[in-house]
């Protein structure tokens, strides 16, 4: 404990130099901006800025890049809430209830809760990194292919809870998402599946492309098709900041989301992306008014946003303690460290404690800065809603296209998102929800990968999922959730809850 405080003290002394505070601010500002712009993500931004960091000192460079990463997670929710387009893939969940709140004239409240929830989550996650990095690393390592697969199965069961319409339709969407995730070259044999011979599909569909297509372009088609509906929210902006009472009502959701996000963030293979989905499912389960989820419940914004931010932060743990990047942004951070001549790995913490603890402490400062940058900006963001649609829509489409193109400098990605946009519009017309599809897509890819890895290791024996205690436990949780969902008596009340629209 004393040690942790000493370490944080060292970190703060490094992070609080004028230069590093400036880099932290710069990173958070750039991150917020690219996060707000739909499609333009931290991966493209950091890879563009990578050569620039060569001329900086290592600590300052990493502090700035880290700021871009969590700043983008944060900015992504702004676009999700205001225009129902997740600026970042992880903001898909925030868009569900966040945008409904905006429509009700509570855009300020939603943005405020997201900001404050993210700050609390960021503060907590910083302490987790400082105090528990080593045990958390061990936890992440426990998840081999078998355990990971069982976690995904549990996630799929919980995914049903995401739906607020018909259960059958939600299941159909999850399955469709899983199927879409199977498009592309087989990981083991390289054989093409469901690509129709199109080169652009060989590597499968990028999640950003799916999200920008179905949610981004789909939302714009939807608004153009229903001009009356979109005008509902005109002029109603409401209070900008949550009251103390509202904060108290959401504190539980924020803390639960923070806990979930902190744990899921350390998992390899971008486990953090699950965090907001898991938080949403949890909040809906324990809420006393689950029937309102999907219609603008503050907890459904505060929880997932906190989970998202906590996960973004704890995903630094495997990078810092093992030198292993859990996602594409972290891989770029490894690149940045190497350019600076730092070998990422367990020895970073001993060889360059000032860098390690400085970076950790800067995360807390960064989170504070995000609040400072964003709270005053909420008013500005909300005014975006006043921009005439004839200007707003082309701008959104343009930014989406830039972002999509920047994924791999390939126009095919933009076209693919366009086609998915039509799919998104069709789903909307047929009253299917897109969020379970997105979750099915996210889970599906890992599900297949981990299933096959686990079965190769076990020589095809399915018992591998039952012999590992952790895997067994996760499957049992999933099974219990499933039984509760299908038990006839409970189902009756469920149907009342779900099918009323």
């Amino acid at each position: 404990m004393i040690e942790t405080i000493e370490h944080l003290g060292l970190g703060l002394s490094v992070a609080f130099t004028l230069q590093n505070v400036f880099f932290c601010f710069l990173g958070c500002l750039i991150g917020t901006l690219v996060g707000v712009l739909p499609g333009v993500g931290p991966v493209a931004t950091i890879s563009i800025l990578l050569p620039v960091t060569l001329s900086l000192d290592p600590t300052g460079a990493l502090i700035m890049l880290a700021g871009i990463y969590y700043g983008a997670q944060y900015g992504g929710s702004t676009t999700a809430i205001l225009v129902n387009i997740p600026g970042e893939a992880t903001a898909v969940v925030t868009a569900i209830d966040g945008h409904e709140m905006a429509k009700k004239g509570q855009a300020g409240l939603a943005l405020g809760l997201a900001a404050i929830g993210s700050f609390i989550a960021g503060t907590f996650a910083t302490i987790v990194i400082a105090a528990l990095a080593t045990p958390m690393t061990k936890l992440g390592l426990l998840f081999g292919p078998a355990e990971y697969f069982s976690l995904m199965i549990m996630g799929l069961v919980l995914a049903v809870v995401l739906a607020h319409g018909s259960l059958v339709k939600a299941l159909a969407m999850i399955v469709a998402g899983v199927l879409l995730s199977c498009v592309g070259a087989d990981m083991e044999t390289g054989r093409e599946r469901m690509t129709f011979g199109l080169p652009m599909l060989i590597d499968g569909i990028e999640f950003v492309v799916l999200a920008m297509g179905i949610f981004g372009f789909g939302e714009i088609f939807k608004n153009l098709a229903d001009p009356e509906k979109r005008d509902v929210m005109r002029g109603k902006i409401g209070r900008l900041l949550p009251t103390f009472g509202e904060l108290r009502q959401n504190l539980g959701a924020i803390l639960r989301g923070t806990g979930l996000g902190s744990i899921l963030g350390v998992l390899p293979g971008n486990g953090a992306i699950l965090a907001p989905f898991a938080s949403y499912a949890l909040e809906k389960r324990i809420s006393d008014r689950p029937q309102d989820f999907g219609k603008g419940v503050p907890q459904a914004v505060a929880g997932p946003e906190s989970a998202n931010n906590a996960g973004a932060q704890t995903s630094f743990i495997p990078l810092l303690t093992l030198g292993l990047p859990p996602n594409a942004v972290m891989a770029l951070m490894v690149g940045a460290m190497m350019i600076q001549g730092i070998v990422p790995g367990p020895q970073v913490i001993e060889n360059s404690p000032d860098l390690f603890w400085g970076l950790v402490a800067s995360m807390w400062i960064g989170n504070l800065m995000l609040v400072v940058i964003n709270l005053p900006l909420i008013g500005v963001w909300v005014k975006l809603l006043k921009v005439p649609y004839r200007l707003l829509f082309p701008a959104i489409v343009a930014f989406c296209c830039i972002g999509l193109f920047s994924i791999s400098n390939d126009p095919a990605q933009v076209m693919m998102a366009g086609v998915l946009g039509l799919l998104g519009f069709a789903l909307y017309k047929l009253q299917f929800e897109a969020a379970p599809l997105a979750l099915g897509f996210v889970l599906g890819r890992l599900l297949e990968e981990k299933l096959r890895q686990a079965l190769i290791i076990s020589d095809g024996s399915m018992t591998t999922f039952l012999t590992s205690p952790l895997s067994l436990g996760l499957l049992l949780v999933g099974a219990v959730a499933l039984i509760i969902a299908v038990l006839p008596s409970i189902r009756r009340s469920r149907d009342e809850i779900f099918v009323e629209d």
Binding site: P51, L141, G144, G190, D203, P318, L324, P346, Q453, I456
Partner: protein, 323 residues
Amino acid sequence: MFTFTRRFVLGVTAATLTLSALPAVAQDYPSKPVTLVVSYAAGGGTDAIARVFASRLEKALGGRVIVENRPGAAANIGTEVVAKADPDGYTLLIGNQGPMVVNPHIFNLRHDPAEALDPIAMIADAQLVVVVGPRLPVKSMAEFLEKAKSQQLVYGSAGNASASHVATLLMGQTAGIDLKHVPYKGAGPAVNDLVGGHVDFMVTTVPSVIGLIQDGTLTALAVTGKERFAALPDVPTVAESGLPEYSASAWYGLLGPKGLPEDVRAKLAEGTAEALADPAFVESLQKDGGVPSNLVGQGFADFMAAERTRWGEVVKAADIKVE
């Protein structure tokens, strides 16, 4: 006295126009930014080398060199982009082992890299390292081979047909042992499962595990090159450890579309040599596990042809092919 006649002026103008329509000549090259295509996403090993190389090549050429990531389809997309580009020296490729010599045996490629590309110069040779994790507590290559004969060992790789996969295949074939392959998406998650004790061993790039080796989390049994690796002086080569004919490395080189003007090609080869003469660049290559190369033009082409034959046999013996 010399006077400008109307005919003379027209003639000069026409000559200038004709000249400017010709492909770039070495004196003007480069007159606009050069695009260096990397067939992998930003942040990977090849990308890191390409970015440092680009900054050195810029100095040598005296013009902008821009790295463009064109990832996809097992790095075949980047190859295709450059194969289809004009051979004017303004679109170049960082080619490496996988797409240049392994993929032609596995995929039905629209452009055979040996026919569609002109090798300019090899940049570096990067050897791999054999590492074991907590699941397989052996200390030497001899113990490892002994163990592999009594039980089937499981290895992770950075993906199907990746350098780490084919290097392990070759090791299994050379030693006559049967190994079980678990493909991952990239070296990161595979190393994660090695550290977590879910797979036995890995043959992987040096930068992906050097920190974990130095820390003692993973044990390096051998390096795959012909010589020991400077940063791991106590680790023997696989060849020293009982498989004398074994060697494997992931290498990087500079290529352009077929038909580059000879002088542009020479200038680029010179630029590469100049970059490789810079101690700072060599040092950063070594950090990535690379050893600078001096192969140019035909020498590089011959090297690739030999590699292609060699890996073709490995891939064929393991029967990995995509229809």
